[in-house]
């Protein structure tokens, strides 16, 4: 589907009044789970999934590789899941802190419904603590500290549909920590023939990921670096579980794209990028897109220099040399590295400027010039 400028403006203009419309949508019948969420005002209280009960009212969370073991009244690292008397609850079910209509290219997803608008939601909380987070005012906060709006799953789906957004994106903070909300919303979305895209750090355990894969259509993973030191020092996470998630998604039917935010001197070593590209080519094949994004200083390291464009170009060349077919450059509008090129004939099959599609030379899923199949979800 192509989103031209007229459609874009129409959709964006429609968005201006959606806040009002949401009030009218409150009459929609709520699912039992959502009713439970309504009970709280700023915090919801719905029993979480993927946890084990332990003696002495303790619990062990199995959602992400942190495996937080918590006593009564304690919260996990993410700050949004709490043990209450031996029962584990999510506190952010239906509590959207941020909701916007964005082009799907902004996520970025380049091989998934190009030009589509994504109704994007996020709650407070995150299971890592990146020093360069763009959305730290929601991701690094507890739900009590952010202004949220109660948007149960069916309201999200209803609203997305009413604004002609074919995709619902779970994004901005870390959707893994609002797993139940994301999962239920994706089911609601499917009932309305909408697709679901998850924008995640991939720091999730295989079991919940396996279930999520059955409910969504696309996952974009932020691979923060290809070494554990970076994950330890700047992310407070682990690399290996993320790599396992990438392999698991690649084995499924879900469309996968990978984004690598290049921070100058911290994760831009050419040799490391070469190793990563080799690993991707060997483990998941050359056809999943890899995006190198330009770092714009944010949050705790907002005084670091942005990434030089030449660094990104060099890293892209390395990834292409290692056999990856679709390597993109992000946050540099107008750069040729934003376009999709056919790996067979080298002709541009999708031309972009920033988040805007300029031209699509695809016939179905094939290059219009040489009929090479270009992998992705195109319609």
């Amino acid at each position: 589907m192509k989103m031209n400028r007229r459609n874009f403006i129409k959709t964006a203009a429609a968005g201006s009044s959606w806040l009002l419309t949401l009030n009218q949508l409150k009459g929609v019948e709520l699912l039992p789970a959502a009713r439970a969420a309504v009970a709280g005002t700023n915090l919801s209280r719905l029993e979480a999934r993927y946890y084990d009960r332990l003696p002495d009212r303790e619990i062990k969370c199995r959602l992400c590789p942190r495996f937080c073991q918590l006593g009564d009244k304690e919260r996990g690292f993410c700050g949004v899941r709490e043990n209450q008397d031996g029962k584990y609850y999510t506190l952010v079910y239906g509590q959207a802190a941020s909701y916007n209509i964005d082009p799907i290219e902004k996520k970025p997803l380049f091989h998934f419904l190009p030009g589509a608008m994504a109704f994007s939601i996020a709650t407070a909380g995150c299971n890592v603590a990146c020093k360069f987070c763009q959305n730290w005012e929601i991701s690094q906060m507890r739900p009590e500290q952010v202004k949220s709006r109660h948007l149960p799953p069916e309201v999200v789906a209803e609203t997305a549909a009413s604004y002609n957004c074919p995709v619902i994106a779970y994004t901005y903070s870390e959707p893994v920590i609002f797993y139940e909300y994301m999962y239920d919303t994706s089911l609601q979305a499917r009932r309305k023939n909408l697709r679901n895209a998850v924008i995640t750090n991939g720091f999730i355990n295989p079991e919940p990921l396996a279930e999520l894969i059955e409910a969504v259509e696309a996952i974009k993973i932020d691979l923060k670096a290809f070494n554990q030191d970076f994950y330890t020092n700047y992310v407070r996470g682990e690399l290996n579980p993320v790599l396992e998630s990438i392999k698991q998604i690649a084995r499924s039917k879900v469309w996968l794209e990978i984004v690598y935010l290049v921070i100058p001197t911290l994760n831009d070593k050419p040799e490391e990028i070469r190793q990563m590209a080799r690993w991707l080519a060997a483990e998941i094949g050359p056809d999943y897109p890899l995006h190198f994004s330009r770092f714009q200083p944010m949050y705790l390291i907002k005084n670091l220099p942005p990434t030089p464009v030449s660094t990104l170009e060099r890293l892209r060349d390395i990834a292409l040399q290692e056999g990856l077919h679709y390597v993109y450059l992000g946050n540099i509008p107008g750069h040729p590295g934003e376009n999709t090129y056919c790996p067979n004939c080298g002709q541009p099959v999708i031309e972009r400027y920033g988040y805007t599609i300029k031209k699509i030379n695809l016939s179905g899923n094939k290059c219009r010039h040489c009929q090479q199949v270009i992998p992705g979800v195109w319609s």
């Binding site: 201006s16 916007n100 670091l304």
Partner: protein, 724 residues
Amino acid sequence: MPSLPAGHSWSLELRRNSYAFLLGFMATSFQILILREFEASLFANELVYGLVLAFWLLGSSLGSWLIKKNISARFSPESLYYPVLGLAVILLAWLRFFRLLSGYLPAEAAGFWPVLLISFLISIFLSFPLGALFVCNVHWLNGRLLTVYQLESLGSAAGGLVVYLFLIPYFSNWQAATVVILLISVTIAAFSSSRKARVAALPVLLLASSLWFFDFPAQKLAWQPFELVASKDSIYSRLQVIKSQEQFSFYTNNLLAFNYPDPQLAEESVCFSLLQRPEAKNILLIGGGLNGSLELLLTYPEARIDYVELDPEIIKLSRRYLPEASAILDQARVTTRIEDGRRFIGQTSRRYELIISNLPEPSSAQINRFYTVEFFAVIKERLVPGGVFSFVVPSSGNYISDEQASLLATFYYSLKSVFSRVTVIPGDNNIFLASEGPVEDSDQALSERWQQAGLKTTFFRPELLPDRLSPAKKQYLMDRIQTVKEPRLNHDSHPISYFFSALLWSKQFKGPELKVLSQLLKVKRFWLFDFPLLLVLLIMVISSLRKKDRLVQYLLPLWLMGFTTMVTEIGLILAFQSKLGFIYGKISLLFTMFMFGLYSGSKLAQKSPARGSLKLLAAIQAGFVLLLAASQLAKSSEIEAVYYLLLLTMGVLGGAIFSVGNTLLLNWRTSYGLGYALDLFGSFLGALLASSVFIPLLGLDLLFLLLILLNSFGLIYLLVKDLA
């Protein structure tokens, strides 16, 4: 006293007096240099400035209070002064490598608690022995406390002048510290009678010389893994240049000032306003022109641009590292003016179609001056009818928190109080546009103007504008701004923006400081204004009822003087900067006037026959009340001499109170450090609270009223005591 045997020769007298003078010289020099190094190495907002200064005064206060009498008897001045000089070198080095040693990246926001800890440790480690040395000097001069105080004040005035006028303009912080240590060591060695003491100067000088020679290598090391290619301590800040591939990043005091090339920020700051008035012929750009903004403005063939930049060194560095980009400054259509933007806008008679302020966000009182109602009013006067004013502030495109919304609301409503039309562009940076004429923010209209103007831009383009300017995003932003409860206006005399900025800064670190600042914002006026008054009044009433309570009687005026002079000094300097601009040499002159006043006042009072009477103390206190009343009226004056006169008079009265108060105290009890400690403790509270709490939350008007009332109570208390 081991090293200063009794004697009456001129040279011996000079030697004995020189130590007190050197103490003042040393204390003020190091205070200035440490504070500058703090600014250059760590993020320093008003809260941090206040903390460093407050801890410094607290350390001095504790040092003078806790020092044991036998220390001065057991040690010679040399054996105490040299280690303090050595300690200063070590602390300066520690400050520079604090980030590296603590595992922070260069320029990473370190957080409130690490900053608090390092400011506490460094200030206390150095100021504690300096406070103790004050009392040692009194012992070495056989109890002549007032002489020590006067010499120390004179030394402080001299130290301030030397550092501000002769060292900082020509040397880096570390080099200036080397010169200060050299001057003090050589003076001590020259006056010392023992050869051993002279030799002891050598290791100190050796240590100090390492500051001189390893200044740049140390900075390079501290910036690892980034490549530092140049550094220059200008009179205003430390300027550093980092090179990454083809890109240069310019830093001022460890904060990213601009990158080159950086089309995104240049286009953000220029295009939205430029396309409001495509016919503009006269444009004023305040700051930040070298990131590409000037180049962009010059794409209009008829535009003539006045570019105002505070720091000439930043232009020199740009010419060296960005020769092509800075060649634009030589174009005939660009006039570069090196001066404070606020001063320029106040004095120019020119009128502009566009005025673009390209300055950092208001994280300090110094920058806050460019975001006040009064500044906006002057801007409006300098615009032609229908001209446009714009500035950019960092924000968030996806979510606007309550703290961010409060800050944005302050800008919005302050602008709205001056201009009839104010528009805010959403995104990761918010662009404020204000005018009396039409302001356009629709993507279609701006895209058409962009095409007509033939701008060659990357980020500001019709392809990207619909997302940036979607009605939903504009609506969300305005909803967040307009639903802020009781938005506050940002005034010169009531600067609130930097408090909101500190709130937002503290939020990043998720510590209890956010709660403290948030609570302070909710605190009713009673707790900041009425409660301190009632508390002091209560102490005075209780003390008045206890007829033999001389301790409070003598110490309270000293505490009050310390508190009042510190708060008034900060308030007047802030008012000076708002009205007359930030003029480097003149700020140092204000400080020197005050220190010289302290010396003169103390000397005058010492000579007075009534120096030991409560009546004289009450009379000086009455003078203080009058001075504060005058300051209340004069703080909006635009006559420079008024500020010098006020600070000189305040110094004179402060010195006199110290002199008389201590004479009374020492007549009653021999405790040399106590009066000095109370004076410094008052200053500590003043430094801690003035710019971080009182000025933003009460405003200068109420703050001066608080001081007038506090000092009036002090006057009544002294009169009652005198009658009793």
